[in-house]
Amino acid sequence: MQNESLLDVQGLTKVYGNKGSLFVPRKEMLAVNNVSFSIKKGETFGLIGESGSGKTTIGRMVLRLIEATAGDIQYEGKSILSMKKGEMDKLRSEMQIIFQDSGSAFNPRKTIGEQILHPLNKFHSNSDAGYQYNKVIEMLDVVGLRADFYHRYPHELSGGQRQRAGIARALIVKPKFLVLDEPVSALDVSVKAQIINLLIDLQKEFQLTYLFIAHNLDLVAYFCDKVAVLSKGELIETAPTIELFRKPKHEVTQKLLSSILTLDGDLGEYYRKQSAI
């Protein structure tokens, strides 16, 4: 159902740094401060903000790749922060992440096929070799790579192809929820469009829910149903995409959106007029 929420985040907070000791002074950094949002099933939820604003930290806390300092994260109504290891491991296959450069997450000495297979072995270790091979070929096909990519090595792929392989690896365990942390930021404009279109097709095909972190704001506008804006660790505004882009409430949001480049110049003029009204 569209209206059920998949992920509810309440008061999420992250403090980085040491606890301090007799000799080392306490040095802490409040990276994410009391952030709350919820993502509905099947939705694409955008998270934007300048670099260092805490986007990656939130994405990683949501998957429990790093521990939250405070707050609550509910996935399908169950609090995941209090889950035991066994229970969490089961959930891990439902929640996957795609990074800016999947290439750097690949082992340079293993074939693409072996790496796509890796998470399947981790989560479903009892399947036989023939099944596994077919599964990888199927995933390659899903992301638009020919079967012969199975035997290639990461350095033989272009940036766009590596990103496709990264998506195949994330999808092989049939996740429901994907954190997309700047998945197209390092790619050419033309390849960005290819990957976004692929993600949209996959979302329809597999009923995926996305948390999309990006600084390509024109793509965020195109791709997301809802957008949240982070500034210095705090969520300053969350709104449906059209509303946010048409009438940003917060000055920081306005400034951010003003820097979108179109062929006719940046959007600064538009937002200056907006704020004059």
Partner: protein, 344 residues
Amino acid sequence: MIQAVRKKEAFLNVTNLMTKIHTPEGSMTVLDHINLSIDKGDIMAIVGESGSGKSMTIHSILQMITKNLLDSYAGEIEVEGKSILDIGEKEMQQIRGKKISLVAQNAMTSLDPSYRVGKQIIEIILDKTNLSKREAIEKALYLLEEMGIDEAKRVFQSYPHQLSGGLRQRVVIAMSLACDPDLIIADEPTSALDPSVQLQVLELFKKINRDLGTAILIITHDFGVVARIAESVAVMYAGQIVEQGKTSEVIYNPQHPYTNSLLNCIPDLDWIFLDGVGKKPLFQIKGEPPNLMNLSSGCRFANRCHMAKDICRSKLPELKKVHSPDLNHLVRCLLTERRESYAK
């Protein structure tokens, strides 16, 4: 008051540049008949996908391709009317040091993490000018201030990791100005930056151009960047220039299907801002660029071109003038060629 029309002074002329490099599979022609000319004070852009040869073009101009990689250069490169392709490395260093500077791709990650920023700028100034140490310090601070850095002294004392990406990029640009160059070549200087910082850096290049008269050659894969800063643009595909001309002409009157496709890749935001306008599907160019070791005899864009005809697979189009208010608008496409010949 009517200003006198400034007569443009030619600075860099590249004619039929061909660059070949060694690969395990043999010699590969990475640049094919590149023609560019940049006058003093110009702002020009080269735009194209990864692998199209943008970096190779500027590394050829500066003759920075390593001995192991380089097979051969052919054609002509002139700086202020003087051929530089066959001058010695010593003279070339003078050109690289005094006339043309490069802001390399990923330059901001190449700052030495173990030295303070100020020391690194001073070293470059001392290396490239005859200034004393004291004068070099003054110049370094002046350059940082020129870069719009409020706390130049603090930045001067900082280590690279203590600075944001935007500040590091400004430092790198300040360094490129150390020798008062006539031309700065910047290889994708904003691709890794936040949009607001990207805009600031583009403004900075404009300011440098305006205040110091420095010509700028900016490399990018984003037409939004081209539109924001460049007066003229060359579109590269698979080692060739496929379209070139005034930015406004190329953007509003594109003639090559590849240029058109690249322009279409910029998402249209009208549906957000205008009532009653629907959301259009996001345009993408299907497929990948050709392997340069394995080119057909036809147009290099043919396997991805939505306009391709049979002839495109066997005949290589030449870069030709098109009918346009811009007399230097050139296009490499058989269909445009045919249209032009009918129009005559």
